[in-house]
Symmetry: C2
Subunit: 153 residues, 2 copies
DNA sequence: CGGCATCCTGTATGATACTG
DNA sequence: CAGTATCATACAGGATGCCG
């Protein structure tokens, strides 16, 4: 029961959103339903505004606002492109930073598929081998520690 | 570039919070800063109300409300206990469901440590071997697919 | 210590309408 | 198609005070 981490994440206990814990900072960037939903779609290849609207079910106003936030936060890039004979459009693409959010998004989906009532249980699979994909916590020595076996340094 | 997943998560595109995508459902349960912060502390061993308040920096009112939500959602359990000669108190403990959220919480922290400005870069380590811990996405055949190599089934 | 009740502000999101 | 503008609602979260 030697929980090594208790309490160390928040020394300063400053008021309001001043927390410097990485988890907290992340929540301040992508801690809304709309942001996560849009990142989910971006991770799955959606790039056009209207597709984001249709596939997330969010309103266009929310999509516009959140997309702007995500671009400014560096998770997405907005690039103009022009197909021959067409007018200029914008494509939203994942940046490396945005791509790094994949484990978190998949982990959230994994929890929901298992524990959230009403969730449709879909499985993610590796295209090349067809095996289901999951997120695992492991150390560089390839151990899979339980919660109690993780400390902060 | 054959993004296998685009758009399939949200067929019904029902209005508002009716989405059945597991990611969305999860966000509806733990999609607030306070919920994630409290789960972070719970994962790190915090069990008493006041410790949650101090270590998250949230107000007691918010902690009380969110703790109640998390207990009702099955992520935490609330159990009365009594130390000899003391009055009855309550201890909040992780359930199996709550413990399953660990990969997501760590993944969020991992992203923040790398990409969020102002985040204190702490490293999580496996207590027994001292090696840093991270979340990885892998299939059961132990491949580590990139975003474009994941499909849904 | 471990909460709950009340008030207040800010923001996330929906609905609707309008524009190039 | 890709947004912007405006209005209305709901909720997160802070501040304060009360209670057993």
């Amino acid at each position: 029961m030697a929980f090594a981490l208790a309490g160390i994440m928040n020394r300063g206990n400053r008021k309001s959103p001043g927390d410097r814990c990485p988890i907290d900072r992340t929540m301040q960037v992508v801690g809304t339903r709309s942001a996560i939903l849009l990142m989910r779609e971006a991770l799955f290849g959606t790039s056009r505004f209207d597709d984001f609207v249709v596939r997330t079910g969010l309103t266009d106003a929310v999509v516009a606002a959140r997309l702007r936030d995500l671009v400014q936060a560096g998770l997405l890039s907005k690039e103009p492109y022009r197909e021959p004979g067409q007018r200029t459009r914008h494509a939203y693409a994942l940046t490396d930073s945005g791509r790094d959010l994949m484990p978190a998004v998949l982990a959230l989906g994994q929890w929901g598929a298992k524990h959230a009532r009403g969730a449709v249980g879909r499985t993610f699979r590796h295209v090349e081998c067809g095996e289901p994909v999951r997120t695992v916590v492991e150390c560089t020595a390839h151990h899979r520690p339980a919660v109690e076996q993780i400390e902060v340094s």
